[in-house]
Amino acid sequence: MKGNNIKQAVFIVATVLISLGLVFLAGLLITSPIDTRNDYQYVNMSESWYTFDSFDPSISMRIFHNVTSDDYMNLDKNGTYTIYSTIPEYEPAKEAPCLFLKGQSCGIQIYIDSDDSNYNNSENELIYEANMDLYKKDAMIPRSIHFIALPPDSQGKQIAIVFHSGKDNTGIVTKDIRYGRIDELARLYAQSKRYVIILGEFMLAFGVILILLPIVMQRKQDIVRNLFQGLLLLDLGIYVSCFNDIFVYIFPNDTFSITTEFLTLLAIPLLIHATMISGESQNRFIFNKIFLGLDILILIVISILHFTNVLPINEAGTIIHLYIGLCGLYTVFRIIYVDVIKLKQIGSDRYGNIADRVINIGLSIMIVLFYIELILWKAGLTSFSYKTTDIRGVCLMFGGVIFIGCIILSYFFHTVATMRKDDISEKLQGLAYTDELTGLSNRAFCDRILEEYQLEQKDAIVISLDLDGLKVINDTCSHQAGDQYICGFSDILKDAFANAPLVGRMGGDEFIVLLSGLDILRCEGALSNLARTIDQHNADHTPCYAYSYGYATTKENSGSGYQIHQTYMLADQRMYRMKEEHHKQMHDREVE
């Protein structure tokens, strides 16, 4: 039973995650035909560029070099790189030509040369300049995309693009340089980012909703847990948007975008740790809390370094990645150990427990994917392109989707657990309130009913019954015989008072019957019925049932108000009186 449930749960989790992954990939690859254009009109200029390598002083000529889309130029701080081309003849763009360019953290200057054959810069006209003020001030230059309006009569002329790098390790490629009308170029670019736009918005919005809903609905027990899960998603959504340069659709400021990008990146390990700690299974580990403290410290330090311009955040990349690498490793192992390996030790509420661990598993998958992302990044494979889709940070996005999937999965596990609990709870309630031996209500239930009646002050008659002779049977025969004696009597009692609101066994050989209303005649009638049935039974069977009883109504002692417990005691007293009578009678008989 146990094994089956866990196997089933693991199977569900695995299947769902794999399916999510497939859907994610499918979404990437198969763009829906309904809203995808494949007929954008533009000129791809990725292969049209050439440059001159830094020349050898011994030779008086510069070395011409054709730049292909695979070429990757790595610039150091203050390094310069110039690429040249000819503006194409392209009819659709004749009246409003535009160039599309991705400028990597560089100051950019673009020149148009009126003279075809002149490779000399001196007679060029500067038509576009961007980020040069930041470059000259030695401030951080954000990554940005550029749509450059070219003069209408510039077709066929030479164009030169000069990159001035503001930091070390700036990579420049010609892969994404395009020429055409701005509406076509802008829409093409936005379409390539469509997947990220939707996914990024999704994570952002879902995160915000997760954070705000418990607060709005005043569910205190949810606020902390949802706060961190929500923050993590919000953070991921913003990071993915920034990393893909679409955050500017919301905040049209490139510097803000890149600063936010790195801050959100730094916040990821912090929020992962916080989410882990807010859950239960990881709560008690000191190391988790130490790492949380470390995360906060590093975040503060790097922020200070950035805002005081000591170390701009886009150059702190390596440090950030190293740190994330180290603490992520620990976190993954910790999660795998506690939440996966120790899965066997789940208690009786298997589905509910699995639900909580599923979220942590989602977190660890996200960390692993983040590692893969880092490795790919180091290997230069930053973006994923297929047809008109272009995404950076695929792994992390995938991780975000998995995490959301885990949150929803955990909801389903909880639902199943609740359904089962409801089923079991019903059974347990039966168990909890039923006397195991006789099937009558047990003492706990009797107490509860009495409380209810006391609260509602309902009129009732309480009958207290006691089995005589149980001790004798227990002593002479065995416990089993004693049990049978009690059971037999209970059955008869049950039948005699079948419609009573309560027929219970208070303990040992004591029974209670509760009748609603104050109809004494009906009560006495039922009691004589009982007596008759017992007599009939005693005529044919051994052992013979002997019992005493007493009853009282709630009206009787209501001098000081309604007190059903007093009523019960009164009934009990009367029962004892009858018992004494029986003893006397027996004694007298014996004497005779």
Partner: protein
């Protein structure tokens, strides 16, 4: 999570969309001037000039039926907004193919192929880039109204007699339908204006897909959950509607099918919502409801087929969709009222009802408000336009958050239920007086031992003198005796086995894999402990117990083992009594 929370959620939804809108306005960074072309339009019908008016007069000027192949041309002069690096024109088009002429020369044409094929043209947005020397140039917007049913054109090519619904092609709801500015500014202001819908749509689409996947899995593997599947489908449909209603798709894709998609989403969501409403309240006469759903589904499918075969377009006779909408509302109200009466309503249910109900109400209000704006009954200003956009987002968002909060509540209540569940388990398996396992649990443990392969020992114990104490000092004292005895048992045996109370004064101990020697050791300890208690008892009671044990290997089954132990216990009891009398 009661009625108060529903109100809170409504207020939250409205405030959230309002706040987002406000923020977008604040962070906007429009670098160049931007202007709506509202001043001066010349109007031509089939190349004959029929009017000269400003933007707000266009509605009146164009208020006449048109026939197939007719054209309407709007001419204006582009104002000089200074130097725009990338000048562009934003134009929202309704049900037309069109050509843009600059100074009389054809510059761009859109949807002409669709027009010539006589298929449906919907509403769409365009951002058309203009030449840099735009200022003062004349633009002609030549509209070819489409969607005119040409099925009545005779063989001689006579004009089809059917004319367009008046509101179709030319209602330019607000001058922002023609805006001149810099390309990126126009793009940014569009995205900011419909940002609520962009986010809602994205969230719903993706959430819907993930949710659908997981619901299907759980329905197959664990337990059918049709209401979750339907809710996730509704999410996806609402997401599509959110993106397509205002034509946001054109920003990052092909928006020509937006009108079709939004209508498709609306038509398909009707039977789904009907089914969901039924599943929520589980009415008695299910058949009638299912028939209604099938009819609604058939209606939607037929309408879609009619659209695709160009017989009747989805946006025509749209008022008919209010019939299923009324049915949905009726179903929800009926279900809610019934459940409140029979007191079956839970907090979650109430929230789910509210989700469908208020979301529908908000959407209807949004629709009505927009229509009244179009008919000029409400003023048509940027502010009222914003309100329209926000109301739509509110309707969609409310459905989403109502369902999400239900899920979150179920998760956390389930977590809290754990403790209640634990309590219940304790009550069911614990003897309330001694806190030892009760008969039910002992029975369970015994069967576990029995199914195992190891030998085990059953000790049956009986407390002596309980009845006397009960009779002499009362039941409370008897309880105390039992409770102490239970403690003693637990102390002595807890390391070796499990003790339990199975009757008034009957106790049992189950020990796995033990030896006779160990049993005797334990008995010695037990006697010691009993003596200790007797010595220190405040009422100077004597604690005495009779016990007997039997090993499983001595008997045929577990029950016989217990009987044997019991028997031995009685023998010992008799022995002790005999000794006592002496």
């Amino acid at each position: 999570m009661g009625k108060r929370h529903i109100l809170l959620l409504l207020i939250f939804t409205v405030l959230l969309t309002f706040f987002t809108d406000l923020s977008m306005q604040k962070i906007a960074d429009i670098k160049y001037p931007m202007e709506n072309l509202s001043d001066h339009w010349e109007v031509f019908y089939n190349d004959d000039k029929i009017g000269d008016t400003d933007f707000f007069g266009l509605k009146e000027a164009l208020d006449f039926p048109v026939y197939a192949q007719d054209t309407i041309t709007l001419r204006t002069i582009l104002p000089d907004l200074g130097e725009l690096t990338l000048p562009a024109l934003f134009y929202r088009n309704r049900y037309c193919a069109f050509e843009l002429y600059i100074d009389g020369a054809l510059y761009q044409s859109y949807e002409m192929e669709t027009y010539n094929n006589h298929t449906f043209i919907g509403r769409n947005n365009y951002l058309i880039s203009l030449p840099q020397d735009y200022a003062g140039r004349t633009i002609d917007l030549k509209l070819y109204p489409a969607n005119i049913h040409t099925n009545r054109i005779s063989d001689q090519g006579q004009r089809g007699q059917k004319s367009l619904h008046k509101a179709n092609y030319y209602v330019f709801h607000h001058p922002s339908r023609f805006t001149l500015g810099n390309y990126q500014d126009l793009e940014q202001s569009f995205v900011h204006k419909y940002y609520n819908e962009l986010v809602c749509g994205s969230t719903l689409k993706f959430l819907g897909i993930v949710f659908l996947l997981i619901s299907i899995f759980f329905s197959i593997l664990v337990k059918p959950m049709p209401d979750h599947i339907l809710t996730s489908i509704l999410f996806i449909l609402l997401g599509i509607a959110a993106h397509s209603y205002y034509g946001i798709t054109f920003i990052f894709g092909d928006g020509t099918h937006d009108t079709f998609m939004v209508n498709l989403a609306i038509y398909l969501s009707l039977p789904v919502a009907l089914a969901l409403a039924r599943l929520l309240h589980k009415p008695k006469h299910v058949t009638a409801y299912i028939v209604a759903e099938i009819v609604a589904l058939l209606y939607s499918v037929i309408r879609i087929l009619l659209h695709m075969t160009n017989v009747l377009y989805l946006n025509e006779l749209f008022f008919l969709t209010f019939i299923p909408i009324a049915m949905i509302m009726g179903s929800i109200i009926n279900g809610y009222v019934t459940e409140v009466k029979t007191k079956k309503i839970t907090d979650y249910k109430r929230m789910q009802y509210a989700g469908i109900f208020f979301s529908l109400i908000l959407l209807i209000i949004a629709y009505a408000f927009t229509e009244l704006r179009f008919q000029q009954i409400f003023p048509n200003t940027p502010l009222t336009e914003r309100i329209s956009i926000e109301l739509l987002a509110d309707g969609i968002l409310f459905f989403e958050v109502a369902n999400i909060i239900t899920y979150l509540a179920i998760i956390s209540d389930s977590l809290n239920q754990n403790s209640e569940y634990d309590i219940l388990t304790r009550v069911a398996f614990e003897d309330s007086l001694t806190k030892l396992p009760n008969r039910a649990l002992i029975r369970k443990k015994l069967s576990e031992l029995e199914s195992g392969s190891n030998n085990y020992c059953i000790i049956s114990l009986d407390v002596n003198g309980l009845k006397r104490i009960n009779d002499t000092y009362g039941h409370d004292s008897g309880d105390r005796l039992l409770s102490n005895f239970g403690k003693i048992l637990d102390e002595v045996f807890h390391r070796d086995g499990i003790s339990g109370r199975i009757g008034g004064d009957e106790f049992i101990v189950l020990i796995k894999s033990t030896t006779v020697q160990r049993i005797h050791e334990l008995f010695q300890t037990l006697d010691q402990k009993l003596q200790e208690f007797s010595d220190h008892d405040e009422d100077e009671w004597e604690y005495h117990a009779s016990y007997g044990y039997a090993f499983r290997t001595e008997c045929m089954d577990d029950h016989s083992t217990y009987l044997l132990a019991d028997q031995r216990m009685y023998e010992r009891k008799k022995e002790m009594k005999a000794r006592g009398r002496k």
